[in-house]
């Protein structure tokens, strides 16, 4: 789960990391009040889960509170990469002597959290990573011992010469480890980490991504989810315990299992169709889930045909059949359904569908070809 910058800031500051004071505003007036409290020049920053905010006009300098209000008025409600801006962060504009990068990411290959630290921080860090990776120091951390003091110091020495700045950076690097582990992050990043002309070391911007698997045991973090920043159909799907991602095509897909769901989408594409979504009903499906899945997919006006691809292992295909029948009785699906079922309780499932006037296919390839053809006819 991605956190907003202002949420990430809160987590970092709670661990003692030095970041400029600031505030989050939902209205121009709130932004004005924060700017007045802070005094001096401030930055007004759009809070959206999208990169390239600056280029999209979502980050503005304001010389005073009135200007902050004005900028906030323009940024709030703005669309950035399809996402609407509901909040802005207002922080003092810092004078910057140098910009560094400090990131901590969960690395699959080493099976450890890995620090990535570079004196060449700032907006171009991704280019640095791509073109001059030698400018980035990588340090995999023993997850049981955690980051040891000499390791934090060693990383800090790659950023600064001045021992006071080195020690400040080492402390901050150590605190970032706390942020990462205390919150079950898969990424915790400070960019830029700056020095000010008077020598202070400050974290100016932060990004934190929480491992979704942590949210069950961390309700405080789960509560940070900003559903206003998400696709409404995805919010509805999550509430129904479905894994759903909206796409731009017209073939709705209802599948059990993530791998099979992806393979189904790929096969739709292979046969010339365009999947409208990723949807995994999970292992222990019940008819209710199927009803919800159909309800969510049919809300998408692009969808011209829907494919069920169910390989029954734990999933009972008769449950799925019952769900389909229930859904078609509760509301008008409005588009053709192609149903492929095989595996556990297959015969019972076929009977249920037949009684309701529907037919089921047994072969995935055949079903995908059929749904693609139907979507084309309807388009």
């Amino acid at each position: 789960m991605n956190l907003h910058e202002y949420q990430a800031r809160d987590l970092l500051r709670a661990q003692g990391i030095a970041m400029p004071d600031g505030g989050v505003a939902s209205t121009p007036e709130e932004a004005e009040a924060i700017a007045r409290r802070l005094g001096g020049t401030v930055v007004v920053k759009a809070q959206v889960h999208a990169g390239g905010r600056g280029k999209a006009g979502g980050v503005k300098l304001a010389k005073n509170a009135a200007e902050a209000k004005e900028h906030a008025g323009r940024i709030l409600g703005m669309q950035i990469k399809g996402l609407s801006v509901a909040k802005v962060l207002v922080v003092p504009a810092a004078e910057i002597a140098s910009e560094s990068y400090v990131g901590l990411i969960m690395d699959r290959e080493t099976q450890r959290p890995v620090y990535m630290v570079s004196a060449a921080g700032g907006v171009d860090i991704e280019e640095v990573a791509a073109r001059t990776p030698e400018k980035i120091t990588r340090l995999p951390v023993d997850p049981v011992y955690g980051l040891l003091p000499h390791q934090a110091l060693g990383l800090a020495f790659t950023l600064y010469q001045d021992i006071a700045q080195v020690r400040a950076a080492a402390r901050l690097i150590q605190e970032l480890w706390q942020v990462f582990t205390a919150n079950g992050a898969s990424l915790a990043e400070i960019n830029p980490l700056v020095t000010t002309p008077d020598g202070q070391v400050l974290a100016l911007d932060a990004k934190v991504v929480i491992d979704d698997n942590e949210l069950d045991r961390r309700p405080d973090l789960a509560a940070l989810r900003d559903e206003s920043a998400e696709e409404p159909s995805e919010v509805a799907a999550r509430q129904a315990n479905l894994t759903f991602i909206k796409l731009d095509g017209n073939v709705g897909c209802v599948v059990n299992g993530a791998g099979l769901a992806m393979a189904t989408m790929d096969l739709v594409k292979y046969y010339g169709g365009e999947p409208a979504n990723f949807l995994d009903i999970g292992g222990s499906s019940n008819p209710e889930k199927v009803v919800n899945a159909l309800r969510i997919i049919t809300r998408d006006p692009n969808v011209k045909a829907i494919l069920f691809n169910i390989f029954g292992g734990i999933t009972r295909t008769d449950d799925v059949a019952n769900g389909i029948v229930t859904a078609t009785r509760q509301f008008d699906v409005g588009v053709p359904l192609v149903i492929r079922l095989t595996g556990t309780n297959e015969q019972e499932a076929v009977r249920i569908l037949k009684d309701a006037g529907m037919t089921a296919l047994n072969d995935m390839d055949e079903a995908v070809q059929k749904v693609v053809a139907l979507s084309r006819e309807a388009a």
Partner: protein, 290 residues
């Protein structure tokens, strides 16, 4: 012949009295797996299905029954603890079915498991099956058939789909292993490829990958360098958008890395026959096996 599970597999089911654990314990018993013990703290002394003794701890189960393999069906909050317990009790092969285990837990679990010389499969995996001999996990036994093709996969139902194709077309399997879809897993493609290469009962390998990470690329390099047996491969997620978690915690394309295209190219470059559709597996295998 087979890898990881065989006729000597003596299984303890951790969480045997739970909803999932009891269901699958029965399935495994019906398949012929030697389920020698179950574990549920506080239910030690009971008997499951009239013939499997239940113990309070895995250590008790190992001591009393000689269990050498464990399968874990406990909720995510207890999964890491269950793996530690199995490793401490001297279990050789630990199969963790549980989905949703925090990745940070896994970073700590892995060195512990290794230091005790155990192998972990999973978490968030369907387990493995040596058709006709022993099944550990949740792969439906009825779609498998004994034979000489090894299969390793990051997903569950997609595996069933492909196994089903094989069986329907008369191609049996030596062992089918679902290694799981999480970012950090106990056994990866290379571990399985190495085992299949060494297994006299395996003639060819089917490898089912997906988007996210670089495991498939590493596996491709391993195939090129070390495998004498033919390999057929598949990558799911060609149509997946970047930066989104496609169900599996591991299936996220970050930046330009971990894409299906990149992985399929790595496969092709390593001499792996790449399936375009799941149904292609049969023709490609027949082609490679001559």
């Amino acid at each position: 012949m087979s890898i990881f599970v065989n006729a000597g597999t003596r299984l303890v089911v951790q969480g045997i009295t739970g909803r999932d654990g009891s269901f699958h314990a029965r399935q495994m018993m019906a398949y012929g797996t030697q389920v020698v013990a179950g574990v549920t703290p506080g239910k030690g002394g009971q008997t499951f299905e009239g013939r499997v003794p239940v113990f309070n701890t895995v250590a008790d189960a190992v001591r009393e029954t000689g269990a050498n393999t464990s399968v874990i069906y406990v909720p995510p909050a207890g999964a890491a603890g269950a793996i530690y317990e199995a490793a401490d009790a001297g279990i050789d092969l630990i199969v963790c079915i549980t989905e949703g285990v925090p990745v940070l837990d896994m970073t700590r679990v892995m060195p512990y498991v290794r230091s005790r010389g155990a192998r972990l499969i999973g978490p968030n995996c369907p387990g493995l099956i040596t058709p006709g001999v022993s099944k550990v996990g949740i792969i439906p036994g009825n779609i498998c058939a004994p034979g000489r093709v090894g299969l390793v996969s990051r997903s569950g139902t997609l595996t069933y789909e492909v196994v089903n194709q094989l069986t329907k077309n008369g191609i049996g399997q030596s062992t089918c292993v679902g290694i799981g879809g999480d970012p950090i897993i106990g056994t990866n493609f290379i571990d399985c490829l190495r085992a299949f290469e060494a297994d006299a009962g395996t003639d060819a390998v089917v490898m089912m990958g997906e988007i996210g990470g670089t495991d498939e690329q590493n596996a491709a390099a391993f195939v090129k360098a070390h495998l004498t047996k033919p390999v057929v491969g598949f990558i799911a997620g060609q149509t997946a958008p970047k930066g989104r978690r496609m169900g599996h915690a591991g299936a996220i394309i970050s930046g330009s890395s971990g894409t299906a295209e990149e992985k399929m190219q790595a496969f092709a470059a390593a001499g792996i026959s790449v399936m375009k559709r799941p149904v292609d597996v049969v023709a490609l295998l027949r082609d490679r096996l001559g």
